[in-house]
C-alpha cells in the first residue's frame, strides 16, 4: 500500500522499523489552509466510503483530515464517517484500508487527493476505494510433485522519465506445498516469472555430475520473456496461475580470478541473457583465486567479478560472457581497476548577479572515513546511468570529489560499460556542452573501456538562459497534464501541471493550468502538453514521433522569455 511508504514525520527509532514506519506514518499536510475568509464558523463533514466495483459500503476504513490537527476516524458498518466542528474551508481526506487502493494511488500519485468542503449545506462526500487484485497458484515439477521454496516474481512495465522499464515489483516464494500468493496488486498487466531457487533441490536432484534442476520460467511455462504472456489482473480479481515445470540438466562454471587485491570483499555474479541475476552461491578461494558457480541451466550468461580494496578505495571489475551447455572449468577472469574520470566544469557568465552561485559547503567522507568539510565550487552534478552491460545492477554513479583534499570533481571507480551522461546545473545556468574528447555527451553515450586512461569530461555552462511560460487548456476530463519542451539536441524538459485547486468560485473549474520552465538552453523547441504524465513513453523516439505533429514550435534566444498556449494532446493507448 502506498501510504505505508510515506516518510515518517518524526524521526524515531525502533527495533522494528517496518512496523514503526507504519505507526508513525503521518500524512502530508495540505499546504493550504481554509480558503474561506477568516471566520470562526465550523461545520460537520460527513461521508461514506464505498467499494468502487460494487458500490457497497466498506466498514473499518481509516479516514483522516487535517484541520488545526490531524483527526482520524474509522468508518462504521454502513461505511459512514463524520468529523464534527471542522473550521470552514476545504480539507484533504486521506483514506486507508488494507486490500484497497485509493483512486489517487491508482491513477497517479500526483492526482488530486479526495477532499471535502466544510461549510453550510455541504452534501456528504462519497469516497471510492478500489479492491486489490490477487494472483495465487502452485508450482509443480517432475511427476506432479510440488516445487518448494521456489521464488515467484511479478514484473510490470512502467514508464520512468519517459522510458519503458521493467520493474520487479512483487516477490513471493512457494511454501512446502508448492503454493504461492501475491496480493496488493493494482489492476494491470503482469509477467509472472518463477525460479530459479537458491536451495539445492531446486537446482539439482543430485549433487554430482548429471545434476538436474528447474530453470527460471515465465508464464505460461516458457523460458524467456519474448514468448511470455502478460497476465491481466482487474481490480478485485483473484487469479490462479499455475506452473508445471520439467527438470533439465544443470551445469557449473569453474575457473580462476587474477589481479584482485589482497584485502577486501569479492562479489561474483551470474546474469542471464534477460539481465536477471542468478542466485548467489559462488565458492571462491582467496588463496589461489579459484571459483565455482552454483548449478545453472544451459543458456547464455555473463559472469561478473567485482572487488573492493578498502585501503585504496578502489574497485576492480571483470566480466565475461559464456554459453553454458556443459560444465565449464578453467575460465579465467582478470580484474582491472575501475576508472576515475575527471570533470572540468566551467561557467560562462554574462550576468553579474550570479557570482556566488554554485559554491556550497559539502560534507563527505574523505580518505579512511575522515569527515571533510570543504567549500567547493561544484557548478554541476554529473550522473552516469548504465545502459545495459553486466554492471547494470549498480544503477547510477554520481560525481564526487576524489579522496585527496584538493582533488577535483570526478566520477570515481567507474566500472567498464556504456553510460548515458546526465548533467544537472547547480545554479541558474544551462548546459551548453558536455564533451569527452570528440564525443558529444548530450547526444552520445560514454563508453568506459577497462584498463584505458579516461579522458576528462568537459562541461560548459552558461547563464544567458531562456525561459518559457504558458498555459494548458485542460478540458473537463483532466485535472493535470505534462508539458514537454523538446530541444533539437538532447533530452526533453518536462513539467507536470495541475489545475488550480477547486474553490467556491464556479469559474475555477474551467481555468487553464499554468506552467513555467526556466534555464532553457537558447534554441528552437517543440512544445507539447500531454494528458498522461506517468506512462507517456517520450524517451522512445517512435512514440514521440507520433505526437510531434501536434506540438507547437517556439524559438528562444539568449535571455529571452517566451510565452505559449497549448491544447491538451491525448496520448492514451
Amino acid at each position: 500500500m502506498r501510504w505505508r511508504t510515506l516518510i515518517p514525520r518524526r524521526q524515531a527509532r525502533s527495533v522494528w522499523p517496518r512496523t514503526l514506519s507504519l505507526l508513525l506514518a503521518s500524512f502530508p499536510f495540505p499546504t493550504f489552509g481554509a480558503q474561506f475568509a477568516q471566520s470562526d464558523a465550523a461545520y460537520a463533514i460527513r461521508g461514506t466510503v464505498v467499494n468502487s466495483l460494487t458500490g457497497e459500503p466498506i466498514r473499518g476504513v481509516l479516514v483522516q483530515i487535517f484541520s488545526n490537527r490531524q483527526r482520524s476516524v474509522l468508518t462504521g458498518a454502513d461505511g459512514a464517517f463524520a468529523f464534527a466542528e471542522v473550521p470552514a474551508g476545504t480539507v484533504n481526506l486521506n483514506v486507508h484500508k488494507p486490500g484497497y487502493f485509493t483512486l489517487q494511488a491508482i491513477q497517479s500519485p500526483r492526482a488530486q487527493a479526495s477532499f471535502a468542503v466544510s461549510g453550510p449545506d455541504q452534501p456528504p462526500v462519497v469516497i471510492k476505494l478500489v479492491p486489490e487484485g490477487v494472483i495465487s497458484g502452485h508450482v509443480t515439477g517432475d511427476g506432479g510433485e510440488p516445487v518448494e521454496a521456489f521464488p515467484v516474481q511479478l514484473f510490470a512495465e512502467r514508464v520512468e522519465n519517459g522510458k519503458k522499464t521493467r520493474a520487479d515489483i512483487h516477490f513471493a516464494s512457494t511454501n512446502d506445498e508448492g503454493e504461492f500468493r501475491i496480493a496488493e496488486l493494482q489492476s494491470g498487466k503482469y509477467f509472472v516469472f518463477a525460479g530459479p531457487g537458491s536451495r539445492p533441490e531446486n537446482f539439482a536432484r543430485g549433487l554430482q555430475a548429471g545434476a538436474r534442476g528447474y530453470a527460471g520460467t515465465f508464464y505460461p511455462d516458457v523460458p524467456d520473456i519474448a514468448a511470455a504472456n502478460r497476465v491481466e489482473v482487474a481490480a478485485g480479481q483473484r487469479l490462479e496461475i499455475n506452473f508445471n515445470l520439467r527438470s533439465q540438466p544443470f551445469h557449473r562454471i569453474g575457473g580462476a580470478l587474477s589481479g584482485y587485491p589482497e584485502k577486501g570483499g569479492i562479489s561474483l555474479q551470474v546474469t542471464n541473457a534477460a539481465g536477471q541475476q542468478m542466485p548467489a552461491g559462488f565458492r571462491f578461494d582467496h588463496r589461489d583465486g579459484t571459483f565455482q558457480s552454483v548449478w545453472l541451466p544451459a543458456g547464455r550468461y555473463t559472469l561478473t567479478a567485482e572487488m573492493h580494496d578498502p585501503d585504496g578505495q578502489l574497485g576492480y571489475f571483470a566480466s565475461q560472457s559464456v554459453n553454458l551447455s556443459s560444465d565449464i572449468a578453467g575460465m579465467h577472469l582478470h580484474v582491472l581497476p575501475g576508472l576515475n574520470i575527471p570533470i572540468n566544469a566551467r561557467v560562462e557568465r554574462t550576468r553579474t548577479d550570479s557570482e556566488t552561485q554554485g559554491t556550497q559547503t559539502l560534507t563527505f567522507a574523505g580518505r579512511r572515513g575522515k569527515i571533510v568539510h570543504r567549500q567547493v565550487s561544484m557548478p554541476a552534478s554529473v550522473i552516469l546511468t548504465h545502459q545495459d552491460g553486466p554492471f547494470g545492477q549498480r544503477g547510477q554513479i554520481n560525481a564526487q570529489f576524489g579522496p585527496a583534499e584538493d582533488a577535483p570533481l570526478e566520477l570515481s571507480n567507474v566500472p567498464p560499460g556504456v553510460y548515458s551522461v546526465q548533467v544537472i546545473p547547480n545554479g541558474p545556468w544551462y548546459v551548453q556542452s558536455a564533451r569527452s574528447g570528440s564525443l558529444n555527451l548530450l547526444e552520445q553515450n560514454l563508453t568506459v573501456a577497462p584498463g584505458s586512461a579516461a579522458e576528462p569530461i568537459e562541461i560548459v555552462l552558461r547563464d544567458d538562459f531562456a525561459q518559457l511560460e504558458g498555459s494548458v487548456a485542460l478540458g473537463p476530463d483532466n485535472d493535470s497534464a505534462m508539458v514537454l519542451a523538446i530541444p533539437e539536441i538532447g533530452q526533453p524538459q518536462t513539467r507536470n501541471v495541475e489545475r488550480a485547486r477547486p474553490s467556491p468560485s464556479p469559474d475555477s473549474a474551467r481555468a487553464p493550468a499554468i506552467f513555467e520552465m526556466g534555464q532553457l538552453a537558447p534554441g528552437t523547441y517543440r512544445v507539447l502538453a500531454v494528458d498522461r504524465a506517468d506512462d507517456f513513453e517520450y524517451g522512445n523516439p517512435e512514440v514521440l514521433q507520433k505526437y510531434l505533429g501536434k506540438a507547437r514550435e517556439i524559438s528562444l534566444g539568449p535571455n529571452q522569455q517566451g510565452k505559449i498556449e497549448l491544447e491538451l494532446v491525448h496520448v492514451g493507448e
Binding site: R10, A12, R13, S14, V15, W16, T19, L20, L22, L23, L24, S26, R59, G60, L62, R69, Q70, R71, S72, V73, L74, H96, P98, G99, E132, V134, G143, E145, P146, E148, N175, D176, E177, R181, A183, E184, R199, P200, E201, R205, G206, L207, Q208
Partner: protein
C-alpha cells in the same frame, strides 16, 4: 557422531562442518567397500522411492555423493574407501535428516574390513505442519502479522522452549509452518493494528523537573497535562481511541507461553491454530536518564537519545514494536507498548559517544521510569586470568547463561582480562559461567563477591554489585571409545560425559552418539574428572534434571582428563531405568 549446525547442513546436504578430525587410517587406502540400505517411512514402515540419499566422507573435501532410491527404496554406494561417512536423506514431505538423527547427533557409517555397512534401515520421519489464520477484532484478516513458532522439546538434557521459526501472514491473515518435526509447539502473534494512531507529545515544560509517577491524565484536551511532577505542553496527533496496540498473543488467547495451549503435531500431520487479536490502549512511558539532570540541560544539547524495548520469550529477547521520541534532553517518550514486563534500553549518542542503559520493568499503565547507568538488577564485572596469573591473548569471551530462562549475557574481556556487563541488565538468578571463545579455554575455578559460587555456577541475589574472579584453564583433552552391549559394539547409543559435580558444572557436559561400529569421540573436553555413560534409547532422558543420571554413574567409566590427553574407554551400554 556430532553434527555441525543442523540448519546449515540441512541446506547444503552434506556440505556440513566437521567437528571430528579426519579419520584417515591405513585401511582408507583400501577401496571396494559399500554402504547400502533401504529408506522407509518411520511411521508406516513403507519403502520410500525417489529419495535422495547422500554420503560424505568425514574430513574429505568434495567427497559428497548422492543416489536416488529406486522402486524398492534401496540405495547403494559402491567402491568406497574405508572411513567414516555421514549418511543423509532428503525427500519431499519428510524432514531432511541424518541416519538415526537425534538432536544434533547421528550415527555415522564406519566403513572398513570386517565392518558391516550394508542393509541399513534408514527410517525417515514425515514432516508435520501448523497453519492458521489471524483475524482482528472486526473479524478481518491481519496482514503482515509476525507469527512466531516456539518448540518445547528436550534439548541439552531438559525440556525447554525455544523459538523455532517465524512467518508473516498473507492478505488472508494466513500463515503456515511446514517442515516441522513431530512434537509440541506454541504459536504467538505480534502485530499492530493497521489503523493505530499514536498520541504524541510535542514537548515538555522545561522549567520543571520530571520525576517518577504516573501519567494519569488523558490526552484529549489541549490544556497542559500533569506528567509526573512536570507539565507537558500537550500537542497531539492521533485520536486516543485509535491509540491502541495488540499485545503479543499466544494461541489460543494468552499473554505468555505459560498460559498458552501447546499444539502437539504428529509426524505427517497438519494442525490448525487460528487466533483473534484484541486491541488494548497503548501505554506511554516517559524514560529519562538519571544522568540528564534538569539543571544540566545545557549539556544535554546535542545528545541524541532513543529507546527500544524487548520482551523475553523462551530465552530470546524479542523486539517490541513501539515508537520512541526524544521530547527534551535526556528524556524520551515511548509510545505504543502493551502492558507487560519489558527490558527498556535507552541509547544515547552524545558527540559520538554512545552509552546504553537498560532496565527490566513491569508496565501496567502510563508511567515514568528513570534509567540509571548502574542497573539495580545487578552490575556484574570481573577479571579472567590463566592459572599463571597472565591474561589470555586473544582475550576470552565470557558468557553468563541463565538457567531459568536460557538467556545469555556475553561480554568480551579486555587485554588485562577485565570484563563487565554493566550495559546489560543481569537479573537475579542462577547462572552458568563459561568461556565461549577461544574454544580450548575453560573456567577452572572461580570466586565472587556479591554472589554465591558453586563450581562453575553463580547465584546472583540482586541488589548489589557482583565481582567475579575467574581462573582459566587452557587446553583440552579427548575422550574416545566404544559402546558395548553384551560385549558387542552398539550403534545409536547416547554417550554422556558427566562432570564430577553435575549440578554445578553444566558447562562441562559433553555428549555424542555411537557410530555404526559402536565408536564415539568427545573432543574438546576441559581438564577434570568425569564419568562416561552409555544409555540405549536414552534420547528422551532429561539428563540435566538433578539426580537423573545418578543411577547410571555406577555402570559408567571414570576418566581423568588433562590438557592434550587422549583417553580411550570401553563403556557398557545401559538400559533406561
Amino acid at each position: 557422531m556430532a553434527l555441525g549446525v543442523i540448519l546449515c547442513l540441512a541446506m547444503t546436504a552434506g556440505g556440513w562442518q566437521q567437528q571430528a578430525p579426519p579419520v584417515v587410517t591405513e585401511a582408507s587406502q583400501q577401496r571396494g567397500f559399500r554402504i547400502s540400505g533401504t529408506v522407509v517411512d518411520a511411521m508406516s514402515g513403507a519403502v520410500l522411492t525417489h529419495t535422495l540419499v547422500s554420503i560424505n566422507a568425514q574430513g574429505v573435501r568434495d567427497s559428497n555423493q548422492s543416489v536416488e532410491t529406486g522402486e524398492d527404496g534401496r540405495f547403494v554406494f559402491e567402491n568406497l574407501a574405508a572411513g567414516q561417512y555421514g549418511l543423509f536423506a532428503r525427500r519431499r514431505g519428510y524432514l531432511q535428516q541424518f541416519y538415526k538423527q537425534h538432536e544434533q547427533f547421528s550415527t555415522a557409517i564406519i566403513v572398513g574390513p570386517e565392518l558391516n555397512s550394508e542393509n541399513l534401515r534408514f527410517e525417515m520421519r514425515p514432516q508435520a505442519s501448523i497453519s492458521g489464520q489471524v483475524l482482528d477484532e472486526m473479524n478481518e484478516p491481519v496482514r503482515n502479522a509476525q507469527v512466531m513458532l516456539f518448540r518445547r522439546a528436550l534439548a541439552l538434557g531438559r525440556r525447554q522452549n525455544w523459538q523455532q521459526g517465524s512467518a508473516q501472514t498473507d492478505d488472508l491473515g494466513r500463515f503456515r509452518f511446514g517442515y516441522l518435526d513431530p512434537g509440541t509447539y506454541f504459536v504467538a502473534v505480534s502485530a499492530q493494528p493497521w489503523y493505530a494512531q499514536r498520541v504524541m507529545h510535542n514537548g515538555l515544560n522545561r522549567t520543571e523537573t520530571i520525576g517518577e509517577g504516573s501519567i494519569s491524565s488523558s490526552y484529549s484536551t489541549s490544556a497542559p497535562q500533569s506528567f509526573g511532577r512536570s507539565n507537558v505542553e500537550e500537542i497531539t496527533t492521533g485520536e486516543p481511541e485509535l491509540d491502541v496496540v495488540y499485545p503479543i498473543t499466544f494461541f489460543p488467547n494468552a499473554p505468555d507461553i505459560a498460559g498458552a495451549e501447546p499444539i502437539t503435531v504428529r509426524a505427517g500431520d497438519g494442525e490448525t491454530a487460528d487466533l483473534q487479536l484484541q486491541p488494548v490502549p497503548a501505554l506511554h512511558v516517559l524514560v529519562r536518564t538519571s544522568a540528564a539532570a534538569p539543571a544540566s540541560e545545557e549539556s544535554g544539547e546535542g545528545e541524541n537519545v532513543y529507546a527500544s524495548a524487548t520482551v523475553l520469550v523462551a530465552g530470546t529477547q524479542l523486539g517490541v514494536p513501539m515508537s520512541s521520541q526524544q521530547i527534551s534532553p535526556g528524556v524520551v517518550e515511548i509510545s505504543g507498548l502493551p502492558p507487560g514486563r519489558f527490558n527498556l534500553r535507552l541509547n544515547s549518542n552524545k558527540n559520538g559517544e554512545m552509552t546504553s542503559r537498560m532496565q527490566n520493568v513491569q508496565i501496567a499503565g502510563d508511567t515514568a521510569v528513570t534509567l540509571s547507568e548502574a542497573d539495580s538488577s545487578g552490575t556484574v564485572s570481573g577479571v579472567a586470568k590463566l592459572e599463571s596469573g597472565a591474561a589470555l591473548n586473544p582475550s576470552p569471551m565470557i558468557v553468563l547463561r541463565a538457567r531459568a530462562s536460557d538467556e545469555q549475557f556475553t561480554t568480551q574481556a579486555d587485554g588485562n582480562g577485565e570484563f563487565n556487563l554493566k550495559e546489560q541488565a543481569v537479573p537475579p538468578g542462577t547462572y552458568d559461567v563459561l568461556v565461549a571463545q577461544p574454544a580450548a579455554v575453560a573456567v577452572k575455578s572461580m570466586s565472587a563477591t556479591g554472589a554465591k559460587v558453586s563450581g562453575r555456577s553463580l547465584e546472583i541475589p540482586g541488589g548489589q554489585e557482583v565481582r567475579l574472579k575467574l581462573t582459566l584453564s587452557q587446553g583440552t583433552g579427548r575422550v574416545a571409545g566404544v559402546a558395548l552391549k553384551d560385549g558387542k559394539p552398539m550403534d545409536g547409543v547416547m554417550i554422556v560425559l558427566v562432570p564430577e559435580v553435575p549440578e554445578h558444572d553444566l558447562v562441562l557436559f559433553r555428549r555424542d552418539q555411537s557410530d555404526s561400529d559402536g565408536s564415539f569421540a568427545l573432543p574438546g573436553v576441559h581438564p577434570g574428572k568425569y564419568t562416561v555413560v552409555a544409555i540405549e534409547n536414552g534420547w528422551e532422558l532429561e539428563w540435566l534434571t538433578p539426580g537423573a543420571l545418578e543411577k547410571y554413574l555406577a555402570g559408567g567409566e571414570v576418566v581423568r582428563v588433562t590438557a592434550n590427553a587422549k583417553i580411550d574407554v570401553k563403556v557398557k551400554v545401559q538400559q533406561p531405568q
